[in-house]
């Protein structure tokens, strides 16, 4: 089971990967409140997909568990897991707290 800090680190790294592709004037301000999805999102759609792919891969590698962040369950949450970094972290921890299938 990963800790909250470990999940944060994974998400921050994924966002940092996005920053690597951006110019100096387009850098994301990375933190727990970074908005990932919605009206005030800092990511375009392809960048969000990249973050999801990177996070899924990293969580799988570190935890030994496959997680799927974009299934129907994720989309039906009252609060979107992609609202911001904190909500994504909470959703990943929720998935990891459940028994593996």
């Amino acid at each position: 089971m990963l800790s909250k800090d470990e999940v944060h680190t994974i998400i921050f790294q994924a966002l940092s990967n996005v920053n690597d592709e951006r110019g100096p004037d387009e850098q994301l301000d990375i933190g727990p409140t970074t908005i990932l999805f919605g009206t005030h999102a800092v990511l375009d759609s392809l960048s969000l997909v990249s973050v999801i792919v990177d996070v899924e891969a990293a969580v799988s590698e570190v935890s030994g568990r496959d997680v799927v962040l974009t299934d129907d369950r994720a989309m039906s949450q009252d609060l979107s897991p992609f609202s911001d970094v904190s909500s994504l972290t909470a959703y990943i921890l929720l998935l990891l707290s459940e028994p593996a299938l």
């Binding site: 392809l46 990249s50 792919v53 891969a57």
Partner: protein, 239 residues
């Protein structure tokens, strides 16, 4: 003059690599310097120094994901994907076994999607990729008996076209080669008179030769084809 090793430094993945068109393309890529991984349900039917074979059933998403997990242990990059694996049952729709129809959808369409999906994740970081789907003249000619097969092959063109848009920012192109009749095990399943009638009706009324196919593969896979995407090229004058 074209280098005999035009694929040197490239890593390619070919599905359905054991025989027919898949084997033809695999051997072509190998002979021109590529490292190639093959996905197929059965064991390898040939050996080559730069070839690695994975027993993967592309109709099963879990098998595809396991295959990619194994692939990632030997390479971090995939430059070229050729989605060739396909199954064919030709039969009047009214008597087509549902299981056969489902198998065609799962292998020909879902399999192509799953392999493209996983490969594009690997191409993403490289910012270079070529996804080539093997389509069929059936998608255009819509022959009797091929309702599901033709629909799947039309589907792989559409799949490539949509993914071409999604992956364009990553410099990954997605195209489809609509193969006409070439003498393979798959074609041998069909009645000879039916095949002869189809071939006779083509603007270029002959079977495809291996080089007809490889020529288009080389075109789509080329570095020079970075501005060629979401295209379907049919052989033999089919359109």
């Amino acid at each position: 003059m074209t280098s005999p090793l035009k694929y040197a430094g490239k890593f390619a993945l070919v599905t359905g690599s054991r025989r027919g068109v898949g084997r033809l393309i695999t051997e072509h890529l190998l002979e021109h310097g590529a490292n190639v991984a093959g996905f197929a349900r059965g064991e390898a039917t040939f050996e080559y120094p730069n070839y690695v074979h994975f027993q993967v059933d592309v109709s099963d998403p879990a098998s595809v994901q396991k295959g990619f997990a194994a692939l990632k242990k030997i390479t971090e990059v995939v430059h070229i994907v050729v989605n060739n694996a396909a199954v064919l049952t030709s039969q009047y729709a009214m008597i087509m076994p549902p299981a056969a129809a489902q198998a065609m959808v799962n292998t020909n369409l879902l399999g192509t999607f799953m392999v493209s999906r996983e490969a594009s994740k690997m191409m993403r970081k490289l910012k270079w990729g070529r996804i080539i789907n093997i389509g069929s003249m059936a998608a255009s000619l819509e022959p009797i008996g091929d309702s599901v097969y033709a629909a799947c092959k039309a589907g792989v063109s559409t799949l490539a076209n949509v993914m071409a848009r999604e992956l364009a920012p990553l410099n990954v192109t997605c195209n489809t080669l609509g193969v006409s009749g070439i003498q393979t095990d798959m074609l041998a399943q069909l009645p000879k008179d039916k095949i002869a009638a189809v071939i006779a009706g083509l603007p270029l009324p002959r079977f495809a030769e291996p080089d007809d196919i490889l020529n288009v593969i080389d075109f789509f896979a080329s570095d020079r084809s970075s501005y060629i995407t979401a295209q379907t090229v049919f052989l033999g004058g089919v359109n």
